[in-house]
Symmetry: C2
Subunit: 108 residues, 2 copies
Amino acid sequence: MREPHHPSCAELELSDVLHALSDPARLEIARRLSSAPGEEWACSAFDLGLSKATLSHHFRVLREAGVVKTRVAGRKRLQSLRREDLDTCFPGLLDAVLNGYAGHRHAA
Amino acid sequence: MREPHHPSCAELELSDVLHALSDPARLEIARRLSSAPGEEWACSAFDLGLSKATLSHHFRVLREAGVVKTRVAGRKRLQSLRREDLDTCFPGLLDAVLNGYAGHRHAA
DNA sequence: GCGACCCTTCGATGGTTCTCAAACCGAACG
DNA sequence: CGTTCGGTTTGAGAACCATCGAAGGGTCGC
């Protein structure tokens, strides 16, 4: 299967990134991806209590916002954080978001 | 008129803050508020090409997310950024968002 | 009081989003 | 080949959101 489209650095929009991360499920995905830098995760590795269709939707939102890179490997899609690109375009944003979340997790 | 409700620091949710800032109009409001720290702006000072009903809606979203404080002064509502609270709860977030925006403004 | 002023709320509308089950599709495995 | 395995796409429903005009509600100036 063809690689899905990824926006270039210059195409990244702050609004899109913020919107992508404003959903709790997607925030959690980003948080997990960031916990193992450089590593790649299959979609099925995320057990968030959502159907695979919904999960696929969230990954698309993250990908189109430029938060996540999807690599096709056999019949799997391997996801990784686009940390360098994000740090370049929006310095400090990712750290602030991931820190804020970890240190500010409510019982919910 | 009664002061509107403002969430306490402990009640701030990262998702809500990100969602509030993910709308271009609200991002612009936050950007303008940050440009004059400590100052207070009347709602009517924001000419974004939106109706006052819409503007009022955006201010409510920002207020309920904890981004903005609304003070009633006579027949005006004076808005200010809750920078200290945000910096305490989500260190670096506001700076990253506002920097990212200023340094990443597309012709649009 | 009366109007002007500033903003909020209401009601409506059109668009977007989240969610799922079902169908689909390419890759791998037998 | 046929099947299974990972994900995507589609179709649909419910919920949410941005937006506006119109109506409402305090407050100030006269």
